[in-house]
Amino acid sequence: MSIISEHGFRLDGRRPAQIRNVNTRLGLNRNAEGSSYLEHGNTKVLCAVYGPYEGKASKRLEDRCAIVCQYSTTTFSGLERKNRPRGDRKSTEMSRLLEKAFESVILTESFPRSQIDIFCEVIQGDGSNLAACVNATSLALADAGIPMKGIASAATCGIVEGNPIVDLTSREETDLLPRVTLATICGRDEVVLVELHNRLHIDHLSVVMEAAKATCADVYECLAVVAQQHLKACAPILGN
C-alpha cells in the first residue's frame, strides 16, 4: 500500500502538504497555572503547567529556572495496550526533548531559583505525538502567562520518494519512512527542537526541512489565533 495514491492523496484523504484539523481548548484545569487541550486530527493531548514556584532544592538553578517535564501516554492511547503510561525509555526521552525545547523558548532568566512543571498526557496517539505535545505545551504556557520568546509550534514531516508529507498519522509513521520533528518559534527560522527517526538521505534533508518549517508556520497561525481569542475572552479590560 503506497502512502500517496496515484491521484496524489494520502490514506486519510489529505494532500501531502495538508495538516489535520487543529482543535484546542484553553484553561481547562482549575488547579494548574495554565492548561490546554489540543487535537491534531485524532491525536489528542492534554497539557498542564504549574509554576513558576520555589521547587526542589536539588533542581534549583542559581541563574535561571528549572523546567521539569513529564510526558505520559494513556494505556489505551495506541493500537496495543501499554503496560506503563510513563517511565519507559521512550517517554523519558520525550520528556527530555520537551524540557530542552522549552528551556530555550521560555525566558528562564526571569525566574532564577524557581521551577516550572509541565505535564503532557497523550490521550489518543495517532502520529506526531511529540509535535502535538510541543503545541499543547506552548498554549498552556501562554495560558499561564509565562514569558516566552514566542509561541513554539512543531510539526512532523516525512518524505516519500522525494515528496514531503506533513503531519504524519500513526499509519504513516512506519519503520522505513524517515521523519523529522521540527519545532520553531513563531513560525520563524528559529529551530528549538530537531529530531530524526530512521535514515534520511542528505539530498532529502533540505526538502524535509523546508516542508517542516512551512508546516510549523501554518501550525503557528492556528495557535496564535487560539491564544489571542482566549486572551480576549479572559481579559475584557484590554479592549478590542
Binding site: 523519558t92 527530555r96 525545547a101 530555550s104 530537531v194 535514515r199 538521505h201
Partner: protein, 432 residues
C-alpha cells in the same frame, strides 16, 4: 561530586580565543582531533581515543529467548558505564542526565538505525535468538564522548564474531572457534557520530569541542551519518536556537567526517583479520600504552629456589589445632558477645538496686557484680521466709480467732501481704 563550573575569567579567555579562530590545543575551528582506533586481542573489543577522550567497547553474545512481539529477531543491548574514574562529576552506578542522553543516542544510532541485521541473529524462531550485548566503558572524558563511544562500539561490532551453530531436530549445537569458524555480524552500514559545538547563536562552528570548550559554548548538535550519505540521527544537544540552514551545514560537515572515519574503521578491522589469518599474535591494547613505560617484558627470568618443605604436622595435632582457628576467626563477633554480657550485668545490677529499694530490708555488702547470683538466692530465701511467715500468720489467725489482740496481728499480716506483690513484681522485671 557536583559539576564544577568553568570560572568566569577562564570562560572569557577560551571564548576570546575561539572568536579569533584559535584553540588551546593548536587546532583550527573546523579541525578534528586525532582519532586512534585499536582492536583488542579478544574478539569484539576496541578502544577508541579522540584526543584525551578514551572509550572501551566490548561485544559479547549469548543465546536467549526472544520476546513474543519479535519472535524472529535478535536483540542488541547497549550498556554504558560512566564511572567517576572518567570524570569526577559522574556518580557511581548512576547515569545522570548526561549518561541517559549518551545511552539513548547510542541506542538510536546503533539499534534504531538498523545497521545490524537482527534477523540473521535468529536461531530458532520464537525459541532461540542471539542476544548481542555492547558494553561501553568510558575510560577518560574530554568532550565528544558520543563520537568516541559510537566509534568504539561500531568497531567492536565489526570486529566481533559469534560462534557458529547448527540446528538439530531437538537441540542446537554450538561450536567453539576451533571446530567451526565463527561468524561475523551482518552490518549494513556504519553510522559515525560527530559533535559540533555552536557559538554566537550558531554563527560560529567549533568542531569536536573538548570538555572545557563544551562548557563555554552555547550548545552542540550531534549528527550521525554513514558512508551512503544518509543521516542516521540528528539531535540538538543543548538549548540553543538554530536556523535550518545552520543545521544543514552541520550535517554536511559530519558527512565528510563520516566518510573518512568509515575507511579508518574498515581498515583497522581488515588489517586485524589479515594478521590473524597469518597466525600473527595480535598486539591488543598493549600498543595503546607507550613502549617506554612497559618495562616488565625486559626483566630477565631468574631461577627461584624454593625453601625445603618440612613434613606436615600429625593429623591429630592438626585436628586439635583447627578449632582454635575457627574460634579466632571471628574476633568481632566474640567482642560483641562480651559487650552484651557486660550490658546484661549492668542491667541486672540496676534491677537489683531497684529490688533493694522496693524491698527496703535487704542489705547487700558485696560488690554489685559478684552479688548478682547470691542476691537472687537471697531474694528467693526472703520470699520463702515471707511466705512461710505468712502461712504461720494465717494459721495463727485461724487458731486465734477470738484472741484479745486480734486487730494488731491483723495489721502486721496486711503489711507483709503488701510487700509480697512488690517483690514478685521486681522478680518479673528481672526475668525480663
Amino acid at each position: 561530586m557536583r559539576v564544577q563550573p568553568v570560572t568566569i575569567c577562564e570562560k572569557a579567555l577560551i571564548l576570546e580565543a575561539l572568536r579569533s579562530g584559535k584553540r588551546f590545543d593548536f587546532r583550527g575551528l573546523e579541525e578534528f582531533r586525532e582519532v586512534k582506533l585499536v582492536v583488542g586481542a579478544e574478539i569484539g573489543t576496541a578502544i577508541c581515543t579522540i584526543g584525551n577522550t578514551k572509550v572501551l567497547a566490548a561485544v559479547s553474545a549469548q543465546i536467549a529467548e526472544p520476546s513474543s512481539m519479535r519472535p524472529h529477531k535478535g536483540v542488541i543491548n547497549i550498556d554504558v558505564d560512566l564511572s567517576p574514574m572518567a570524570n569526577y562529576a559522574n556518580e557511581h552506578d548512576r547515569l545522570g542526565s548526561r549518561g541517559m542522553e549518551l545511552i539513548r543516542l547510542l541506542e538510536l544510532i546503533i539499534r534504531d538505525s538498523r545497521c545490524i541485521d537482527v534477523e540473521s541473529l535468529c536461531i530458532r524462531a520464537g525459541k532461540e535468538i542471539w542476544k548481542v550485548r555492547v558494553d561501553v566503558r568510558i575510560l577518560d572524558d574530554d568532550g565528544s564522548l558520543l563520537d568516541c563511544a559510537c566509534l568504539a562500539a561500531i568497531t567492536a561490532l565489526q570486529h566481533f564474531k559469534r560462534p557458529n551453530v547448527t540446528l538439530e531436530p531437538h537441540h542446537t549445537l554450538i561450536y567453539s572457534e576451533y571446530e567451526k569458524a565463527p561468524v561475523p555480524l551482518n552490518i549494513y552500514h556504519m553510522p559515525i557520530c560527530t559533535t559540533i559545538g555552536l557559538l554566537d547563536k550558531g554563527q560560529m562552528v567549533v568542531i569536536d569541542p573538548t570538555d572545557k570548550e563544551a562548557a563555554c559554548l552555547d550548545g552542540s548538535i550531534v549528527v550521525a551519518c554513514n558512508k551512503r550519505r544518509e543521516v542516521c540521527a540528528l539531535h540538538q544537544s543543548t538549548n540553543l536556537v538554530l536556523s535550518t540552514k545552520q543545521i544543514e551545514r552541520c550535517v554536511k560537515l559530519a558527512m565528510s567526517r563520516a566518510e573518512a572515519l568509515t575507511a579508518v574503521v574498515s581498515d583497522v578491522v581488515k588489517q586485524d583479520q589479515r594478521e590473524r589469518s597469518a597466525f600473527k599474535r595480535p598486539d591488543g591494547f598493549a600498543i595503546t600504552a607507550p613502549a617506554l613505560i612497559l618495562t616488565a617484558g625486559t626483566v630477565a627470568a631468574r631461577k627461584i629456589v624454593a625453601p625445603v618443605v618440612k613434613n606436615e604436622p600429625d593429623v591429630e595435632q592438626r585436628a586439635m589445632y583447627q578449632p582454635s582457628i575457627v574460634l579466632n576467626e571471628n574476633p568481632l563477633s566474640v567482642g560483641s558477645v562480651k559487650q552484651e554480657e557486660v550490658d546484661n550485668d549492668a542491667s541486672i545490677s540496676e534491677q537489683v538496686e531497684m529490688i533493694q529499694n522496693s524491698v527496703g530490708k535487704v542489705e547487700v555488702t558485696e560488690t554489685q557484680k559478684s552479688s548478682t547470683i547470691s542476691n537472687r538466692k537471697r531474694e528467693e530465701k526472703e520470699v520463702d521466709d515471707l511466705l512461710s511467715g505468712l502461712d504461720d500468720d494465717e494459721e495463727e489467725v485461724q487458731t486465734m480467732t477470738l484472741g484479745a489482740e486480734e486487730p494488731v496481728q491483723d495489721v502486721t499480716m496486711q503489711e507483709e501481704e503488701e510487700e509480697q506483690p512488690n517483690l514478685l513484681l521486681a522478680k518479673k522485671k528481672k526475668k525480663k
